[in-house]
Symmetry: C2
Subunit: 338 residues, 2 copies
DNA sequence: GTATGAGGGTTATCCGGTTCAGAGAGGGAG
DNA sequence: CTCCCTCTCTGAACCGGATAACCCTCATAC
């Protein structure tokens, strides 16, 4: 049983295809009575517009793309992307836009995917995440001339629209808070060093600590394993830090476990701060002080901007809310017993 | 600057569109020399087949769909779906298939999304997850006649192809292990009671405990909060269990924290088992004994089956590997001090 | 020398919808 | 009564490819 087409509706209603097209698209050119009749028939036989046929006429694909370039095991663990996607979806669904998703293994493959999707008219635009320095994807996407919203710092997004949050501010707030608690040796277990936002945080961290506290930054790949290893090394050093700031919650939890295993009591001997709050941060003991932000809202804002861009509007860079510090049990004043 | 079409290539090469079509699709009907010339030109001007035009000719959409019907906050926390998607993607990417994703808020909306995607010829098939009893989505999808792979127990999948893993077996292994360790009062903190796999586990659990151990099952919504609450209640009861099996890792971690907060030592006073292993289960102290399975592989198998179904092959129900118990530090022999 | 056939290409049509240029019908103004 | 305009609707072309059917040429077989 074939899917019904507007030709089927036309023959049933005794009018031409064109009248049906006008009627179903709310265009002028048909009387109210005819329109009602056509709409009723369309409803009755369960007609749906064929997106391919529409796309062929230069219409939008009603679809945007997102390619994620991180190993599967990290994607599974980090709530960030799933929350971001949920937020994006909320906006897209309202406008009947679909999200095309692909997990890729490298940036060349990612560019390739974008090129193909765009060439095939599958999508109207894409989100670009995990920006690097001198990111080849930016120039590639600029060349293609497709609507793009970069979720990341605008300094590296070239001519593409960006949406970002001020990680520097969050770092400063965190360091200020730790210093106020008396911490003078603060470590940071950071994510992938090639990511722009990692560097932004690195620099803000170094600057904030300058003159008020010793500081050290260790880079990892975001996995719990590396977070644990980094923590073990930090806690084994002679001048061990009294506070550690982690770049995601999974590393923070891993770090907490390492501390407990090494009989370093949290928060008495060590304060822990996690970047990006999540239920995970709240269920461990003690619950983790975290940098909270509304990631679904972040995704939603990005989606709104991409849709605006697709609609031909111009979209200035947009700074979303910075993460705010949510103090919980994992941070406390420095204990002076050593 | 328009996207190049085969007409552009044809005029450049001085042949007809048809010759170009044949050449680019590896069909007979053009000489090797002409074919090479055409391919070279296509390459040079960066031609990509327009998927809409192809789809219009009854070709496949080269795209499959997945709608997820769980609240955003749970999707973010549970690694399951992201890992499943990674696995699915691995297979799809090889065949240049794309994945259309949508987060929905209810089953009516989910059915609606499938109907629309299918009606618009956007997708060639879908995955159906989180099966319920007398699930309306099954009959709806059967009615549409579209290729579907149900990721769930075949008893409720109607005429649709199913892929599932034997949760009963995993439950029996777990209970057997706990009983061997001397446990005689075992609790289960389960997920949403309306899901088929929850019931399967419930029944297997009750059966496995029958005659060898007291047992109780508490249902939750998979969140850490409810996992914590359930644990608190269980541990407060006069006849408190000596072992608890959780339906996901986030609840297990929450439960562990509650135990520690209540000074119930793990594993001395309480053994904990988590369903679905993840880095999360391994980073807490003690690391959690977990029911491990290869979720990306599960997704990959599902994807292979969906593609086979789309290719017109018949796909029998497939039972994937059951989860296996990975003992870690959170389980141990019963301590007889009480 | 003619029939046969394969190789290499072309023309015409279709897929399902959109869009443009008109064509009748009906009504109001002069 | 005629002219013109508006309203409603239609035929035809088009989007970018796929496909069936047919045509021409040259080589081979008889």
């Amino acid at each position: 049983m074939k899917r019904p087409t507007i030709a089927d509706i036309a023959s049933r209603a005794g009018v031409s295809k064109v009248a049906v097209s006008y009627a179903l698209n709310g265009q002028p050119g048909v009387s109210a009575a005819t329109r009602a009749r056509i709409v009723a028939i369309a409803e009755e036989i369960g007609w749906q517009p064929n997106s391919a046929a529409r796309a062929l006429n230069g219409a939008r694909a009603n679809c945007v793309g997102l390619a994620l370039c991180r190993p599967a095991r990290i994607l599974g663990v980090e709530p960030f992307f799933m929350e971001l996607i949920s937020g994006i979806e909320g906006v897209l669904a309202d406008r009947s836009y679909a999200l095309l998703l692909q997990v890729v293994t490298g940036h060349e493959q990612e560019s390739e995917v974008y090129r193909r999707w765009w060439g095939e008219s599958r999508i109207d635009g894409v989100f670009l995440v995990d920006l690097h320095y001198s990111d080849t994807r930016v120039s590639e996407l600029e060349r293609l001339g497709m609507p793009v919203v970069v979720i990341g710092h605008p300094s590296e997004s070239g001519s593409l629209s960006a949406i970002w949050s001020d990680d520097g501010e969050a770092v400063r707030e965190t360091v200020g808070y730790l210093v106020a608690l008396g911490h003078r040796r603060i470590a940071r277990v950071a994510g992938l060093p090639e990511l722009v936002h990692t560097t932004v945080r690195d620099q803000a961290f170094a600057q904030a600590c300058e003159g008020v506290a010793e500081h050290v930054t260790v880079h990892t790949d975001y996995t719990g394993d590396e977070g644990a290893r980094a923590t073990r090394r930090l806690l084994s050093s002679p001048h061990r830090p009294t506070a550690i700031v982690y770049d995601n919650d999974i590393m923070a939890v891993a770090g907490l476990s390492v501390a407990q295993e090494m009989r370093v009591e949290v928060p008495r001997d060590l304060s822990i701060v996690a970047w990006d709050d999540s239920p995970l941060a709240q269920v461990v003991r003690p619950p983790l002080t975290a940098l909270t932000r509304d990631i679904p809202a972040y995704g939603a804002h990005a989606a709104q901007r991409l849709l605006a861009l697709i609609a031909g509007e111009s979209v200035p860079p947009y700074e979303d809310q910075a993460a705010v510090l949510t103090p919980r049990g994992s941070t406390g004043p420095v204990h002076l017993s050593r």
